[in-house]
Amino acid sequence: MSQATLAIRKISGHAGPAPGEGVERDYQVCKLVDTTTCIGCKACEVACLEWNGYTFTDTVFDNSYQTMPQTAWNYWNLIKFNEHEREDGTVTLLMRKDQCMHCADPGCLAACPADGAIVQYTNGIVDFQQENCIGCGYCVSGCPFDIPKFNPATKKMFKCTLCSDRVSEGLEPACIKSCPTGCLHFGSKDDMKDLAETRADQLRENFGFEKAGVYDPAGVGGTGVIYVLHDATNPEAYGGLPKDPHIPWVVRFWKGPAKWIGNLAMLGGILGVTLHYLRYGPKEVHPPKNENGGQP
């Protein structure tokens, strides 16, 4: 993806500083998905496919309007349809555009061992650089949203790029452009947050959605994709949006303390045997004394 206007803030699997580390930009980009105005038309799905040059794949009807069970390596944007029974017994259809959340603290990037396979730009976009990807799939374990997907043919991981190629040229992501109802918005994080909160206020005050709110989970440092939900207390109802997503502690431990404990242990082992040699040296072979024929 174009990096000309996208300074890199974080680099996966990287020893040493990143060029954009500490760079303060005026704004972080952000996509706002207002699920209360989503009509599940899938225009964003098609726009995503077309912009990114992916074509038809075989799908199978699965008791739902949903195109496929989850996003795929070549299908980054999926509306999740959920028939949800409300407390009063009425049923509603919750529709949520599922895609990479572009976490401020990206679990995929934390988990990734390959130098530069995942980068985070200073504008907040988390992007996979397939030329550096080794296809290990660690990002799958790191992601709290089940987003990165493996292409078995090229053995690379793929996911939504937030159209970093478009954004770097000053355009909005393709999904945003295609949305017919204006349920998708794109702009700076501050503006989107503002807009989302205003809409949530409106939903609470004028439309009786007392639990309406904005989904911008703190557990991953906030996200570059935020949702307005009718019921922010129950994000799971929207196709399994985690209530309090965070990088799995295993991954945190693995990529944090475990690494140093392990390194120290390994180093300790090497040092230990070295010291042992210096102190005790090799074992001597003892010629037989009085047994079995004695010394030669």
């Binding site: 296809g135 392990g262 074992k283």
Partner: protein
């Protein structure tokens, strides 16, 4: 095939500096298959482990290549381990002699070997290492499959993904610990050990020193001698 029955003909005359076959060709082949594949997995695994060691992946053809071969080498290692198990598992049973030996292992470590109780073909430390690698590889393969085919673990069972990561790391670190000691002992600490796994032979003195019971077994004719 559990014990080395073949005592090689001494190239020079006389029993005392005769040579005893410690490892058959098959045993050596499997040891080195295991060693080579383990080292490959170690190098590539370390590359995936830390950015500061990612350069190791470059040594073996780059990240994608390393990632591609790592699981296959892992399987090959598991295969060799399986064969070693088949060959050695009877020899690797802990005996009363081992128990006695283990109590004074400190003396062994400090090369104060004079008063150590005699041991069989493998001493208790070697057996520990064997079982560490054996169980280690089982865990590594199972968790490794989880990492290899991470996407086939459904989201609802994602705890399995995390378990796989944990198990793989812990098991790998444990085997690395064993591996360091093994290599150290096999090359630097116990002279003759390295030759034995290459050529298969040890001197009778060596055998008598380090594996008295095994030596006696052979000498007493329970095993064949040439």
């Amino acid at each position: 095939m559990s014990t080395a029955q073949v005592v090689s003909s001494g190239r020079t005359a006389g029993e005392t500096d005769g040579r005893i076959c410690r490892y058959t060709l098959g045993e050596r082949v499997h040891h080195w298959l295991g060693a080579f594949t383990y080292v490959y997995c170690l190098i590539t695994g370390l590359a995936f482990w830390s950015p500061y060691m990612f350069w190791l992946a470059v040594l073996v053809g780059g990240g994608p290549t390393a990632r591609f071969w790592h699981p296959w080498f892992g399987l090959a290692f598991a295969f060799s381990m399986f064969w070693m198990f088949k060959m050695w598992h009877r020899d690797m049973r802990t005996t009363d002699a081992d128990r006695r030996w283990s109590k004074v292992m400190k003396q062994y470590i400090e090369n104060d070997d004079q008063n150590l109780p005699p041991v069989g073909r493998f001493n208790y430390g070697q057996k520990l290492f064997f079982w560490l690698m054996f169980y280690g590889v089982i865990l590594l393969v199972i968790s490794g499959l989880g990492l290899w085919f991470v996407e086939s673990i459904p989201w609802s069972l994602r705890w399995l993904r995390y378990t796989a990561v944990t198990v793989h790391v812990v098991a790998a670190l444990a085997t690395i610990g064993g591996f360091i000691i093994h290599v150290y002992m096999g090359t630097a600490m116990v002279r003759g050990g390295f030759t034995s796994i290459i050529r298969g032979e040890v001197t009778t003195t060596w055998a008598r020193t380090h594996h008295r019971l095994w030596y006696e077994q052979i000498m007493s004719g329970t095993s064949r001698k040439q």
